[in-house]
Point group: C2
Chain length 313, copies 2
């Protein structure tokens, strides 16, 4: 297991800079009064390909040597990593194949095609997506860029909270959604190095609470196919992300499906930004845990904005 270092984050930042946006940080006096905290929304929904995952994908793709890059890249993803890897491969001009659950939002499938990616569909379970990917790699020799259990990807995601700290200094807390744990791991990697007083909270759908149960049990617990409106957060922790979660996360906080949907629409309504359900989980847990967050300066990672507007929850 190769654990990425903060030096890897600095290399990633230089490498991906030409290919990504430095996203804005928004504030809302309404959200502050509602939460009784001072909230800073890091808006990766405005990121290239509509989500933070382009950071890790670009770091992996642009770090490949010419020989490896020529065989292309492949991955499995519930959506945003698929878009992001397609975007990154497209910019480098190399082939990309993505395994996607047949139930993935149409808007994400269309966007992968738009970036020139080839989609192979699988069943909506972790076991099916991993088996399908193995077949593709055996045939093509493509380099697998795992959506989160990959040191290159984690180092790329880690550049997001680096931007947050550069802009705002040390915060009391940062809250990010947790699915496989790529964003949380990157957040831990950066903050443990440059803002060690900042507490890191992971926000998870109660319907897909395997990270929370893992955190309490002290070892990885994986569900195969949980059901939640936060479609980016259905995947389980893996050894690399477990390393960061178990060592650096303060707590894993849960939100119900209704709380997630309410927080999503509240954000649309009040802040006028489109965020996907996964991105609403942090606000949902902050609003229900004011004992933890009241009076604090809190960063929220808005992870993405790729919503299928024809299938709103």
């Amino acid at each position: 297991m190769q654990i990425p270092s903060y030096d890897d984050v600095l290399v990633a930042e230089q490498r991906i800079r030409p290919h990504i946006h430095r996203t804005p940080v928004l504030t809302s006096s309404y959200m502050n009064s509602l939460s009784r905290a001072e909230l800073f929304f890091k808006c990766e929904n405005f990121q290239k390909a509509g989500a933070f995952k382009v950071r890790g994908a670009c770091n992996a793709v642009f770090g490949l040597d010419e020989h490896t890059a020529a065989r292309g890249v492949a991955t499995h993803s519930s959506g945003n990593h698929a878009l992001s890897l397609s975007y990154a491969a497209g910019r480098r001009g190399i082939p990309v194949t993505v395994v996607m659950p047949r139930t993935a939002p149409e808007v994400k499938k269309a966007a992968v095609h738009g970036y020139g990616g080839v989609i192979v569909e699988c069943e909506p379970s972790t076991s099916s997506r991993e088996a399908t990917l193995a077949e593709i790699v055996a045939e093509s020799g493509a380099d697998v860029v795992h959506p989160y259990n990959d040191p290159r990807v984690i180092a790329g995601q880690a550049t997001c909270s680096r931007e947050l700290v550069e802009k705002l200094g040390e915060l009391d807390a940062v809250v990010a959604p947790i699915g496989g744990g790529g964003m949380i791991s990157g957040t831990c990697l950066t903050l443990a190095s440059i803002a060690p007083q900042t507490k890191i909270y992971a926000a998870e759908p109660a319907n897909a609470d395997d990270a929370c149960r893992s955190f309490k049990a002290g070892h990885i617990i994986a569900d195969d196919a949980p059901q939640t409106v936060a479609d980016g957060l259905k995947v389980p922790l893996k050894e690399l992300t477990w390393h960061f979660v178990s060592n650096h996360v303060e707590d894993v906080l849960l939100a119900s499906e209704q709380e997630i949907v309410d927080a999503m629409y509240l954000t649309w309504q009040r802040m006028k930004i489109v965020i996907e359900p996964s991105s609403a989980v942090p606000l949902a847990v902050i609003l229900k845990n004011s004992d933890i967050f009241a009076g604090q300066r809190v960063g929220i990672i808005i992870t993405g904005g790729n919503v299928d507007l024809k299938k709103l929850p």
Copy 2:
């Protein structure tokens, strides 16, 4: 008829600065490739109270002498001016009464209440709202702040395109929605003074095309109750706004209901910002008139983001 001058705009800018946001200008490589133009979206959906109208409302309210202010302000509005005047009056601590059509979006009524405004409902026609307002003023002696046919309001709205020019220099064209013509008049007032080469286009729903017909006929034509999804654009021109439209507007371009809804969702989907139907009319007319806009640097006024998410078109 008192026509506001550019000096009034400079006074307004100083007066309203503590009460409004300097809103961001967003760009989108996707929208640029689609339109074959370079588009700059001035995002008044991020403005206080969710729309540009807070500029004019604040200029009117904070320009009142103490004696007049004490009697309060009143207006009629299809929504955003009601919110904005309530916000402004609330900040000054004076009473505000707004006449709203009973069909106005619930989200706008709730927001008026949230700012402490008193709502009196009327029928959804221009004649009904004007008659109802006259009754209120006769009783209270409140100062009427018309949503657009008021020099204080036009001077306030004019600060928006001043910010746009300050940020971007002289553009080839600016496109703004037209209903009563307050934003377009403010745009004309500013650009005629500091960017006279910039062509100003008004974008109007084909279903409420009274400004377009007025423009062609050379005199005001008013419809009493047109039906369009762009609920902010149902009102007719008045003498003050007609002055600016007839003297400074290059053309009035029309979009169908479907084109407006498509442009709205396209903006949500691709730019991750929530805009109201009225704000989508400029993009809709730009996409269908590439003969006019291709190759140009074009400013678009995104007038507001107050959408009733429970009643999406």
